[in-house]
């Protein structure tokens, strides 16, 4: 059976459709694979790491005490609140020094290990996850 002109035209349209879909997928992949987000221009030096680690250690008791009063008797929430304070400080520090956030966390981790065992009012353990039962 021979194909009519209309059928042939629709067949071409169908093929074009598949090609367009493949092109869209290809563009999506290419754009995702090649996109970049600006990285900070410098890294923390070894000396700066020590300084940053110490600065975080000095600030920790204050954050811990604040968390204790914000969430009295709720150990997980206290740790979580402390984590939020620490994160805020880390972000500011990274922005101020124009270094990756990862470097600042690395500095804190290194300091914790070098000062081990960490004792109160600081803390190197975590309270088991116990999300609050309601948020409204």
């Amino acid at each position: 059976m021979t194909m009519t002109t209309t059928q042939a035209r629709w067949r071409r349209v169908a093929v074009s459709g598949w090609m367009a879909l493949a092109l869209c997928g290809g563009v999506a992949v290419a754009r995702a694979v090649t996109s970049e987000v600006r990285t900070p221009s410098r890294r923390l030096s070894a000396e700066e790491r020590v300084l940053v680690g110490r600065a975080a250690a000095e600030a920790e008791p204050h954050w811990r005490r604040r968390s204790m009063h914000s969430f009295p008797g709720d150990h997980w929430s206290q740790d979580d609140d402390f984590g939020a304070s620490e994160r805020g400080w880390v972000m500011n520090e990274a922005r101020r020094r124009d270094v990756p956030v990862t470097d600042v966390f690395d500095a804190i981790d290194t300091e914790l290990r070098s000062a081990a065992p960490i004792l109160p009012p600081r803390k190197a353990s975590a309270s088991p996850c116990k999300p609050r039962p309601f948020y409204d």
């Binding site: 459709g17 367009a20 992949v29 995702a32 009295p72 008797g73 081990a116 975590a126």
Partner: protein
């Protein structure tokens, strides 16, 4: 006019019916929607939820690419957790292949694009059957596919919510099942399995709800009992197949949720105006706000009008469903609350956000729009001179609605806070104290974060530490040495030289799936441990969970069974329904046999208060002051512990000892009033005992120790009385009457339990932070 209208309609119908053309259109629209997201693929989403959820994918991908292992155990999160048993992970979905190929962060917007295309295509199939017009279905598909919630989900790292876009495929499958087609069985089971593996905490239960409703709708629309009976057989097969096909994920999830149930209290609700804004207001281009979170172009509502006017019978179901979903989305703000009713059902009791029911609202509004378009186009075909311009206007409204939704999608995508991808640092794995708000950075350092911010109580050890010099060590330091030989997520090898029998500890959480080549695996306060004998030995710990491996076998059998049924059908030897049901039930029987014959320790719930103390006690401590108050529900306040004054930090720890003796309504919670001598009142109400149990769920005839604390910093010095009562916190908020006490004072439905004195100057002692 007639000829040109007919020609145009015919061409539109033909184009809409061509899969490739349709998909190309959806592909282009999805690309436009994702354009901004794709341009950010090289960064890391810095939103807190993204740090948690995307880190799961990062960890899973790391297991595959760095260690060549299945992502069964995730040592980087929460001190180690069962990846398959964690509800929000998507590491066992097929999408992990793409994550492994291009990286988990770069894969996200590509997956978003693919889900958008799938969502629009699924809606097209659903709507074409429902409204009888390919062109109408095509016009409305982007209204559902490009709803705002998907963009919001991507922006804040909830890609698992893209699973909502597969809802129409579930309904298409359900209808096919009711028609006796095995392809429908495969579709329903396959989509549920995909949704579960993709972390669909809301899409799965909500999908099940709408599948049940679609089943009812389809059965109702069928003529004659024989067809209905056939449909019921097919639905039975679908239920068996779906359960078994999901076993690889369902079994681990059930196991986990039984050992760590999530409690959800509160009465979330949305008033009509905010709800309308969430649905219909164009979202802002920056910041996090509720308006537009679930954007559905208001112009598209115009398309519902011809549906309601010209196709009333067909419009009834989607109109009613859209209304019911909106009612559900209002949560506790609506009276009566449909959402409150839903929450009485198992699984749905953990739903937190009623507004997510705006997703199905969008779906049914889009169905109404499809119906409106279809009705106008059908009339144009029959009477072009009267209806052509109305149809042209409707098409213009549909296309402009696509534009509005694209704009909203782009705006919501811009809410994403992207930061530079963290620089990888190769070093041996160790647990760090970490930070759940920035977990993605820790993973790049090959550090686990024991700070955990999951939405459910992950089983964790309080013995985990983030300052250890070695992650594997002997419990008694003098009992010998332990040295790591090999470390991978699912297998750890340690050389142990023990001078006496001892316990080897690994700085990760225990799970019953851990097996050891030597000695017995134990939980040491939730920490992974192995009893090792005296002598030199290599201990190889392997993570081989029964539920994950057994469940995968059951799921494989389910697909094999379905393939067999389809093969028989293709050859013209279709099995009779009872036989087909038998085949689909075989994997479930295997599941039962595996559960009984494959022994594995059971992780049991360890109910604790927020301060880590046990929630049940065998007897009252000597410091407890008897109260013996009985209430108008079977709850007794047995005793209370109130210190004379706050501790050195100004914290006042309080303990209430309760006992339940019968069924208690779920609405019942505790109120605590702390009243000064001057009459100033402060409170510490809590509807859930120790953050763990509603009274309704607490074990009966057991002493329940409810511990909580007050910070008295800034309080007026002097004496403060503590008064306790019960109220319907999750209901009408009325107080529960006190029936009698053993002499304790009662006023206004409150029982006096003690007094403490806030001193003039609260001393500061920083060493009192919990260790």
């Amino acid at each position: 006019m007639t000829t040109s209208s007919h020609g145009l309609l015919r061409a539109a119908h033909r184009a809409a019916s061509l899969t490739s053309v349709r998909l190309a259109l959806f592909g282009v629209l999805a690309l436009a929607a994702c354009w901004h997201s794709l341009s950010l693929a090289g960064g890391m989403n810095d939103f807190r939820d993204s740090h948690l959820l995307d880190s799961y994918e990062d960890a899973g991908t790391r297991s595959v690419t760095h260690y060549g292992q299945l992502p069964l155990w995730n040592p980087w999160s929460c001190g180690g957790q069962y990846a398959l048993g964690s509800p929000q992970t998507r590491v066992f979905a097929p999408t992990v292949v793409l994550s492994s190929l291009v990286g988990p962060r770069r894969a996200e917007p590509i997956l978003l694009w693919a889900f958008l295309v799938l969502g629009m295509e699924g809606f097209f199939h659903y709507a074409r059957r429902r409204v009888g017009s390919a062109t109408g279905a095509l016009g409305a598909a982007p209204l559902f596919g490009l709803m705002g919630f998907t963009a919001l989900s991507w922006s804040i790292g909830w890609l698992n919510f893209a699973g909502f876009l597969l809802l129409p495929w579930l309904l298409v499958g359900t209808r096919r099942v009711a028609e006796g087609k095995l392809s429908g069985v495969a579709l329903v089971g396959g989509v549920f399995a995909l949704l579960l593996s993709f972390g669909g905490t809301y899409p799965v239960p909500m999908g099940a709800l709408f599948v049940a409703l679609e089943t009812g709708r389809t059965l109702y629309g069928m003529r004659g009992m024989p067809r209905r009976r056939e449909a019921l057989w097919a639905l039975g097969i679908t239920a068996c197949f779906t359960l078994a096909a999901c076993a690889f994920r369902l079994w681990p999830l059930i196991e986990t949720m039984r050992s760590s149930p999530r409690v959800m209290a509160g009465t979330p609700g949305n008033a009509l105006v905010p709800l309308t804004k969430m649905l219909l207001q164009l979202p802002a281009r920056s910041g996090y706000s509720d308006p537009g979170n679930f954007y559905f172009a208001p112009a598209a509502l115009l398309l519902a009008l011809p549906a309601l006017a010209l196709a009333r019978r067909r419009a009834l179901y989607p109109a009613v469903m859209a209304g019911l979903c909106a009612w559900m989305a209002a949560g506790y703000s609506a009276t009566p609350s449909l959402f409150a009713g839903l929450r009485t059902l198992p699984i749905f009791e953990t739903f937190r956000y009623p507004e997510r029911f705006l997703v199905p609202t969008c779906f049914f509004l889009a169905e109404l729009a499809a119906l409106g378009l279809a009705a106008l186009l059908a009339r144009t075909w029959r009477a072009p001179s009267r209806w052509t311009w109305a149809a042209v206007a409707a098409c213009a409204v549909a296309i402009s609605s696509w534009g509005l939704q694209l704009r909203a999608f782009d705006n919501l995508s811009r809410w994403a806070q992207m930061t530079a991808m963290p620089a990888e640092r190769e070093q041996p794995f160790a647990q760090a104290r970490g930070n759940r708000w920035s977990q993605g950075h820790l993973l790049a350092l090959n550090r686990g974060s024991i700070a955990c911010g999951e939405a459910w109580p992950v089983p964790m050890s309080s013995k985990l530490r983030g300052d250890l010099s070695q992650e594997e060590y002997l419990e008694e330091p003098g009992a010998g040495t332990a040295k790591r030989v090999e470390w991978t997520p699912n297998r750890v090898s340690i050389d142990v030289d023990a001078t006496r029998p001892t316990v080897l500890l690994v700085n990760q959480n225990w799970h019953p799936g851990w097996k050891s080549s030597q000695g017995e695996v134990i939980s040491r306060d939730g920490l992974l441990g192995v009893r090792v004998p005296q002598g030199r030995q290599q201990v190889v710990l392997s993570f081989l969970p029964r539920s994950g491996l057994g469940g995968t076998l059951v799921s494989a059998l389910a697909w094999a069974g379905l393939a067999f049924l389809m093969w028989r059908e293709r050859r013209g030897h279709r099995l009779p329904w009872p036989g087909a049901l038998g085949v689909s039930a075989v994997p479930l029987a295997v599941w039962g046999v595996l559960a009984m014959a494959w022994p594995e320790p059971v992780a049991k719930p360890d109910p604790r208060n927020a301060d880590g103390s046990p929630l049940t006690v065998a007897a009252l401590p000597p410091a407890a002051r008897p109260v013996n108050a009985r209430f108008d529900v079977p709850v007794e306040l047995v005793a209370a512990e109130v210190p004379a004054e706050p501790d050195a930090e100004g914290i006042t720890p309080l303990v209430l000892h309760w006992r339940t003796t019968g069924p208690v309504p779920r609405s019942v919670g505790i109120f605590v009033h702390v009243v000064s001598a001057e009459g100033q009142r402060l409170g510490s109400d809590h509807p859930v005992l120790g953050g763990t149990w509603f009274f309704a769920d607490a074990p009966r005839d057991t002493l329940l120790r409810d511990a909580f604390s007050l910070s008295t910093r800034g309080w007026r010095p002097g004496t403060w009385n503590v008064l306790v009562g019960l109220w319907h916190a999750g209901g009408d908020q009325s107080r529960v009457d006190v029936l009698g006490t053993g002499g304790a004072q009662v006023s206004e439905g409150r029982v006096y339990v003690g007094t403490f004195t806030v001193p003039r100057n609260v001393r500061a002692n920083e060493s009192s932070v919990n260790p």
